[in-house]
Assembly symmetry: C2
Homo-oligomer: 417 residues x 2
């Protein structure tokens, strides 16, 4: 089964935004056994959109369209779809009710331009978008479907997850696909591949192994295609078990969840608490953790101690330590981590201090030098890393490295065989 994704709007074509929607949609489609043949970004130009729709219809069965559904003049997706399918317009009462409610909630007057949001081509099925004023429209044509969604990522994701993917699964005969993900950290893609080469070579035709590397982590994803879910699940679990056995020390979790979520799960189960003391990561570790619902049962909070004064006042780092060794040093990071455990009264703490760049480097401590420590109530482990000269990457890599160190400490403390 083939799909195509068409994004409409100038934002991508002028380079104002990166098209993250399409990658997300492609991943979800692949997970249910639909391959994506082409992704096309076109401008708000009717002839061009019509042409893109016709081209996509020739190649694919499922055409997913995002964007161009706003209330302003440059948003022409609806009128173009009506033209493509030769339809007129109707007011969709469900959408009108949502639009009215949203404007009432925000105490804004409902303008004509907003009421127009509820107008849809009369032959489409409306899928209610509970998160915004743009309707989601589903068109059937000769066993093919066209679905038009808003380009706002969370509105699109919610609609895909809750409505469109289930409807696609119900309408098309898709193969059964079973996935199993193993998250690893601390080993590169090519070394991993070498470690498990024989297991990979033994995989049957219907099971594929993908390496998905990202920032010091590699996700291994086994995907089995077939007819019978239970059989596929058993097959995949067996290969996963062999892989995990082989690379045990690098396995973070055998599930498709991020590193910090795996840590939260372990700590929650063991009734443990965590705090953070962040300098160069500037709150990014706290943000990664607190993205997850329920994180408050484990994570108590922490300090973003950018200024040395705050390292002293909140974390109790000694003035002599800062003066003698500098803010980016083993001594400072240890006092930060131990200070967090002590002052925030948690079982574990993470501390990070470094030179994120692009300025602030010295010969001794060039940009990318990052000290990380993890502490429990009796032990602290500190390590220095030398990342790149790119600020954002340094922040992200430092965060992942810190979380990996915490996971290893937790494993040492609790998951030893």
């Amino acid at each position: 089964m083939l799909a195509e994704i068409i994004t409409i709007g100038d934002e991508i074509l002028i380079g104002q935004i990166v098209d993250t929607n399409s990658a997300w949609m492609a991943r979800q489609l692949n997970l249910i056994g639909v391959s994506v043949k082409q992704i096309t970004s076109v401008s708000d130009d009717q002839e061009h959109i019509l042409d893109a729709l016709a081209q996509a219809e020739k190649r694919a069965d499922i055409i997913l369209i995002t964007g161009g559904l706003g209330p302003t003049k440059d948003d022409i997706t609806k009128i173009t779809l009506a033209k493509y399918f030769g339809m007129g317009f109707r007011i969709d009462e469900g959408t009108l009710a949502i639009v009215t409610e949203i404007f009432k909630k925000f105490k804004r007057p409902l303008l004509d331009i907003n009421i127009k949001q509820a107008e849809v081509p009369d032959g489409c099925e409306v899928i209610l978008n509970k998160n915004g004023t743009a309707p989601c429209m589903w068109f059937n044509k000769d066993n093919k479907i066209f679905v038009s969604m808003p380009g706002v990522p969370f509105e699109m994701m919610y609609l895909m997850d809750e409505q469109i993917l289930p409807k696609i699964k119900a309408q098309f005969k898709l193969p059964v696909i079973v996935h199993k993900t193993i998250l690893t950290a601390g080993i590169g893609e090519s070394f991993l591949a070498k470690e498990i080469e024989d297991i990979e070579n033994d995989l049957p035709e219907n099971i594929k192994l993908a390496y998905l590397p990202k920032l010091g982590q590699v996700r291994l994803r086994l995907s089995a295609k077939g007819k019978e879910e239970d059989t596929l699940r058993a097959e995949v679990e067996l290969f996963a078990k062999n892989i995990i056995e082989r690379i045990k020390q690098f396995v973070v979790v055998d599930d498709d969840i991020p590193l910090e979520k795996a840590i939260l799960n372990i700590m929650k189960e063991k009734g443990l608490t965590l705090s953070t003391a962040e300098s160069c990561t500037g709150g990014y570790i706290a943000h990664l953790i607190t993205q997850h619902p329920g994180s408050s049962s484990v994570y108590w909070g922490g300090a973003v101690s950018y200024a040395n004064e705050l390292k002293e006042s909140i974390l109790g780092v000694r003035e002599e330590t800062l003066a003698g060794y500098g803010a980016v040093s083993e001594q400072t990071v240890i006092e930060m981590a131990e200070g967090a455990v002590e002052h925030f009264k948690t079982d574990y703490a993470i501390a990070v201090t470094g030179v994120a760049g692009p300025d602030g480097g010295t010969e001794d401590k060039p940009v990318g030098t990052v000290w990380i420590a993890v502490s429990n109530q009796s032990k602290t482990i500190a390590k220095v890393f030398n990342f790149s000269n790119k600020r954002i990457q340094n922040i992200e890599r430092a965060a992942i490295s810190a979380l990996t160190m915490l996971l290893n400490l937790l494993k040492e403390d609790y998951l030893k065989e």
Copy 2:
């Protein structure tokens, strides 16, 4: 002048990577007056690539192609381009020298498969890629150009910056394009459009206005096309001035920078310092701020006070306040903000406490209830918001709202006319 971008390879189509290359290329092209008509991602399938090339040639004058230039069997860009242009192959000596040198440097044996990297269609001009083994190939056809580049971002960026963009500027007669961006916050797209409707209607043919909304903010971008940069700049500035005058209270900054960067710029100029006290935003505001190089001259740090204990111990929120009014309350958020100013010794502070969800809501304080306060050393302003039931969006909206409140306080204190 129109361009199209074609990316070749499965990584994007299976959702493994986000296509950041195309956005970057589009931005660079727009800056030199080349509009991008379409961005297309196709798989490693010869017929499909040939079709995409033919389609692009119909619409555009400049066709930029990335990807599919690796040494393995699934990389078929070169052979497909040779077929498209009816060319044979030759060995490019310059590329061969680079390949040989790279393998020597990494002490790896030079295999036949690597030597093949230096084979190119015999009618193309090779642009030497100093950062990798894949050649960059430039084809001229009937006043149109096709350029094939590696998909590795830093190789592509270097080639574009150093070679391809200058060559395009030399070969084509390009218009001058001038952009001007106005960032607004606190007003929706449709209300903005209504406010400035007459100004928009009065825009001359060569100036376009785009609305780029994102999380409670809307960017207005004026783009003028013409021949003479100074004239265009003056024209655009005039319209921008009229727009800013009309919607003054919603204007964050008349520049293409994010909200927090605008705040950092103002505070740096005035020599002011900032701290944060975050509960439900969990470090996200700190992260937004500390992404920016040089933020440490303004931002001293802050607390992520997820647990009530930390609200008391780090920020000095009184136990009676928490017990009497709850963690999500006007009283608590005021004490958090004032506590941050006092304990972290900064000129300004932001505090946020709320129910991010999906759990933790009550009848009184449903999920999405967020109290935000901003303080200077003599005044605190607190406000309650009712966002949605989505955790990540609540965090992002709360952060943007908090930053908007801070900006307004700064404007009141420093930018009054």
